[in-house]
Amino acid sequence: MTTLSKARDSFVLFPLGKKRFALLAEGVSELARQRLHGEDEQQTFPHTTRMLTGVIVRRNQIIPIADIAPALIGPEIPERKFYLIVNLTARGKISRAAVPVTGECELAEAERLPANGKLPPYVSGLLSVNDELVEVLDLERLMSAEVRA
């Protein structure tokens, strides 16, 4: 069930293809540049979890990379050069994930509107930003939906 806040919250807006999506800003800890070598270099090892494409090491912490773009916009994915480092909460514990984005992110304050029934369950609300409707993502739901898919 979607919880709605009447107050204006802060959101991080980011484009994927021709659409923009939003995450609650309080769940985003930083924007990091992707690198080919050294820290923030994508590393991989065998696993079977869908959507996770590898890990990065950031300040000695190993952070999984959650590539949500294919699930949201399909296979034609633009080049992403940054990671949004986000906090995920599972069973009361916080963990982090790195979401690849193009980098053209925007911090916006807006009122979250209710998501209508036709939207996927990982859309927790909608933002009206300059005549554009932006879907607010519930990353935990998106990732668990992907696992079940």
Partner: protein, 175 residues
């Protein structure tokens, strides 16, 4: 934006200066506790076996090693980790059960001082495969659970299956 860090419980301490063996499979590197390995040897003496079991969990067991009067079931690590077929050159004989695992090669033996818990976002079979993740010269190396290759119970089931196959064929293979 808020700054937040994961709880320190995500970082596991390795048994102080735990010795591990780094090995490679299909281009990936892994670590296994040195204390979990009885012997590292070449592939001589391996016999192909066909278990004829319907359990897909045991499809990765394709060979048998007779060692010191005991039969060891040998796991193909590529099948275990769902990797493309490679050319193994070494066998790790495991200590916890009559089991072994063929790997492409042994890289080195070193001491780990910390192992990080596998991030919770990993929710697949890897939760069973790995004790955690270690950083070795800036590279992330999964530390494997030896019993994930084959548990003691798995070995008992495999031995039973072999015995019934022998009985059916009237040939004695198991010692």
């Amino acid at each position: 934006m808020n700054s937040s860090r994961s709880s320190s419980s995500d970082r596991l301490r390795a048994k102080s200066g735990e010795a591990v063996i780094l090995f490679s499979v299909g281009g990936s590197r892994f670590a296994i506790a040195a204390s979990a390995v009885e012997e590292i040897r070449d592939l001589s003496g391996l016999q192909k076996i066909s278990l004829g079991m319907s359990n897909p969990r045991f499809e990765k067991v394709k060979q048998l090693l007779e060692r010191q009067g005991r039969n060891y079931f040998v796991v193909d690590s590529c099948e275990h980790f769902r990797l493309a077929m490679t050319r193994p050159s070494r066998l790790l004989v495991l200590r916890h059960a009559a089991a072994g695992v063929v790997v492409d090669g042994i890289d080195s033996i070193l001491e780990l001082h910390a192992i990080q818990a596998l991030p919770r976002a990993f929710s697949g079979e890897e939760r069973n495969w790995y004790r955690g993740l270690a950083l070795v010269n800036g590279k992330v190396v999964p530390v494997v659970k030896p019993e994930a290759f084959l548990s003691k119970t798995d070995v008992v089931l495999l031995q039973a299956s072999m015995r019934s196959s022998e009985a059916a064929a009237g040939i004695g293979i198991l010692g």
